[in-house]
Amino acid sequence: MRKHKGILLVTVFLVVFIIINSILTFMLVPSCLTRVILHELVSNNDYKCVVLGTSQGAYGIDADIVSKETGRKTMNLCIGGEYLQDSYYLLKKVFETNHPDTIVYDMDYQYLFNIPRSAISGSSIYNLYPFSLDKLFYFKDKALGMEYRAALFPWMDYRENFSNSGNIVKTKLSADYINYNPDTVNMIDNNEYEGRGHIYRERNNHTEKIELIKFNEAGVDQDSVNYFKKIVDMCNAHNTKIIMITTPVSVEQLNASIDEFDKAFTYLSKLAADNNIPYYNFNLVKDSVFSRNMQDYNIGHLYGDAAGRYSTALGKFLKDVENGQVTTSDYFYNSIRDLKIK
């Protein structure tokens, strides 16, 4: 009897813990784009091309423009803080809900170093991933290695929001939120969500240069490399073509660390070759295809108008790839050294 009472108390304690934790999550975690993007993915089933990647792609790739150029409905699933294991589980969701014929992986080499396990912060993609058996595996792969706070308290990164919790709750109870309206997301002043994963950044006076992680092959996280292989394998299993690209950073940034970037791009080319997939590095894109300079970037991300031009170029390129008409020398230089600063 005593034993049963003890077990009952432990169970009730756990239930109370879950309730309080859920209330705090509801109160503190604001509406975010990841939720809207995931909804856009699962509520449609006719995407033919899906782009996976990181925030560079979120700002740089306008899925509407790419769709117009390629004639195939495109969804941009590039999300800030999306590591390769997140992309892997997003891709699972893609194949569960859609039948794409092309997957574009926008690879930022820095994400081969940022081992999510070492981070304290959790991940909005993991936290918002729908409950399923896949989520259980996602938990095993991602959250298990994290510090317990990151895994158990999804609201921890938003703990400064206590004073704003009234507004957050109000927003979450609104019809707009329930209907996944992106207007419920508090965006940075010059950012606007355009739909299908693309964030449009209005020009302002900032042209901040960001410090990139230095490339060092020995430091590449092999878990991430394995996830890349799993992504390729999953595409192959679904008879879906996968190509790897890299959204360009500014020419000035490339010129500032040519050797570093050379090493990184050589590694990425090898990674693609090892997985038998093509790699197109838009850092080497010719001026005649997409012209850019430092003024087109803000904290390493393309401004909206520049992103529009880049998306047009990317769309045309993807169409050529689709039609088997691509001549890489028409699009790309051979080396960073061929790029000219304007």
Partner: protein, 529 residues
């Protein structure tokens, strides 16, 4: 799998569920399996080392006992025919054989530890000497593995073999049971260093589900996380900044960093211990306490009786006493009494043993001169205090100071705190020279304006962080005072109504993610030993 990882918490939860469901006689087997799984999660290459220690120590224990028994049997079989002299000689032979086995096991295991931990340090110093004498020849360094927790499990196992040699208890006959004693997963990373006679019976007895064990265990785990995440990780920001860039800081910056290092180290190590002891308690296993509010100590020797207690008692039982009671030390004692008088002569061997112990404590912390300096600093103070004790007592008498009065006790606590903090320069300094340089810099630019013009807020912490640190330390201080007065907070709490208890538990559970420091993830300091 760090002590703060989700993996570990789930492992503990799942193991506890299975532990209380399976037949009680298999509980220890489950703990053994989980312990090896836990250890292997750090890398399979490490498992070989712990298996080596387990097998050699287990067999050593068996052989020592068999040798002892064989000696006794031989004497009893021939008791009617042998003379007293022969009997003595047989006993001495048995003792020599036992000693040989014990020494072999000690040399093998401490040899592995010393080789892995100190080989490169020795090479570095030999090369420095070679360079000093002008030769161009150099010894090569080796890339060596340092298995997780090797210092802890080696000390624990060697304690066992010495105890068996001394006949304190019988050797364990089941190799798997012995393997659990060496590898018990909560304590393998950073202790406490356990004793076989206290732990074995707990490991192998049947444990019923007791809500109190779960409650008390979870309380300790939470309290440990609070100390580590809210206090230690926050204090570490300033400590790392100042110590890593020591040439750019002086005066109150250094003093602030040193004081915060006290907070960091104590919160980190004792927090880790709380987590370890709490996890063990969930399985009904009570580990030894490793801390007893060391900053209330009135002397350095008392500090070391309250700080890292299990290492201190290990050193005392297996090195200090055998050394001070050894024949050469007895001779030295007699000699010094004759030459220096009874009072001084009596403490000379003790002082020498203290110096040796603290040399070992220093080198145990790491292969660097700064650690040796740290150990010797403590050893010299303790040895000096022993030597000067008569003069000290005389001084108090002449000044009419009652050493049992509160103000004097407070003075002693503050004085001890200052001495301990001076020792941290060596412990945390980048190297020995950096420690000396920081000591000098402490007295440079001691401007009071540093304390009032928000300069200390430029060391990586915000005002809010300092406030959280201050409040957290205050809560910890209050709890320590209550514990010092023998008030058991947990027992008191257990008598309160469920609503009050649960409110406190949930407040603590959620206070950690609310007030915990978020930054680069850092593990427990002592998990690196």
């Amino acid at each position: 799998m760090s002590l703060m990882s989700t993996q570990l918490l789930l492992l503990v939860f799942a193991t506890a569920v299975v532990y209380y469901i399976i037949p009680k006689k298999y509980q220890w087997i489950l703990l053994l399996a989980v312990s090896y799984m836990f250890y292997a999660s750090y890398g399979l290459q490490y498992v070989g080392f712990i298996v080596f220690t387990t097998i050699t120590t287990f067999l050593g224990g068996i052989f020592i006992e068999k040798t002892s028994q064989a000696g006794k049997d031989k004497i009893s079989a021939n008791k009617d025919t042998i003379t007293t002299e022969e009997k003595k000689s047989m006993k001495a032979q048995t003792k020599r054989n036992k000693k040989l086995i014990c020494a072999l096991i000690l040399v093998c295991n401490f040899g592995v530890l010393a080789f892995l931990k100190y080989f490169n340090f020795a090479v570095e110093n030999i090369n420095a000497i070679l360079s000093g004498v002008g030769t161009t020849q150099r010894l090569g360094m080796m890339s060596l593995l340092l298995p997780i927790g090797i210092s802890f499990y080696t000390f624990q196992s060697m304690g066992y073999i010495i105890d068996v040699f001394q006949g304190k208890y019988a050797s364990e006959k089941n190799p798997l049971k012995f393997a659990l004693f060496v590898s018990f997963f909560p304590q393998i990373l950073q202790g406490p260093i356990g004793r076989f006679d206290k732990l074995a019976c707990q490991f192998f007895e049947e444990h019923k589900f007791e809500l109190k064990n779960i409650q008390f265990g979870l309380q300790l785990i939470l309290w440990g996380f609070f100390k580590k995440i809210v206090l230690a990780d926050r204090a570490a920001v300033v400590v790392n900044k100042v110590f890593n860039d020591y040439t750019n800081y002086s005066g109150f910056y250094v003093i602030f960093a040193i004081l915060l290092y006290s907070v960091q180290l104590y919160a980190d190590f004792s927090g880790g211990m709380d987590v370890v002891i709490g996890i063990s308690q969930i399985f009904g296993i009570k580990l030894d306490q490793n801390f007893a509010r060391p900053f209330f100590s009135r002397s350095i020797s008392e500090f070391w009786r309250r700080w890292h207690i299990t290492l201190g008692t290990w050193m005392k039982d297996y090195i200090f006493y055998p050394l001070t009671l050894s024949k050469p030390m007895n001779k030295l004692g007699k000699f010094s009494k004759k030459k220096l008088g009874n009072t001084i002569g009596r403490v000379i061997p003790i002082c020498l043993a203290d110096l040796l112990i603290f040399f070992l404590v220093g080198i145990w912390h790491g292969a660097a001169w700064k650690y040796i300096a740290y150990g010797m600093y403590n050893g010299i103070i303790i040895a000096g205090s022993n030597l000067l004790d008569p003069a000290y007592k005389l001084g108090l008498k002449k000044l009419h100071i009652n050493s049992e009065r509160k103000p004097w006790k407070v003075f002693q606590i503050i004085r001890t705190g200052i001495l301990i903090n001076i020792g941290w320069y060596f412990d945390m300094g980048v190297n020995f020279n950096a420690a000396i340089s920081m000591m000098k810099n402490t007295f440079v630019g001691l401007s009071l304006s540093t304390l009032t013009d928000n300069s200390l807020l430029k060391l990586g912490l915000l005002k809010k962080d300092i406030q959280i640190l201050a409040v957290g330390c205050f809560i910890w201080f209050i709890i320590s005072v209550l514990q010092e007065r023998k008030i058991s907070i947990r027992e008191t709490l257990a008598t309160k109504p469920l609503v009050i208890r649960w409110t406190i538990y949930f407040a603590l559970i959620f206070a950690i993610p609310i007030f915990g420091y978020i930054g680069a993830s850092s593990g427990f300091i002592y998990a690196q030993f």
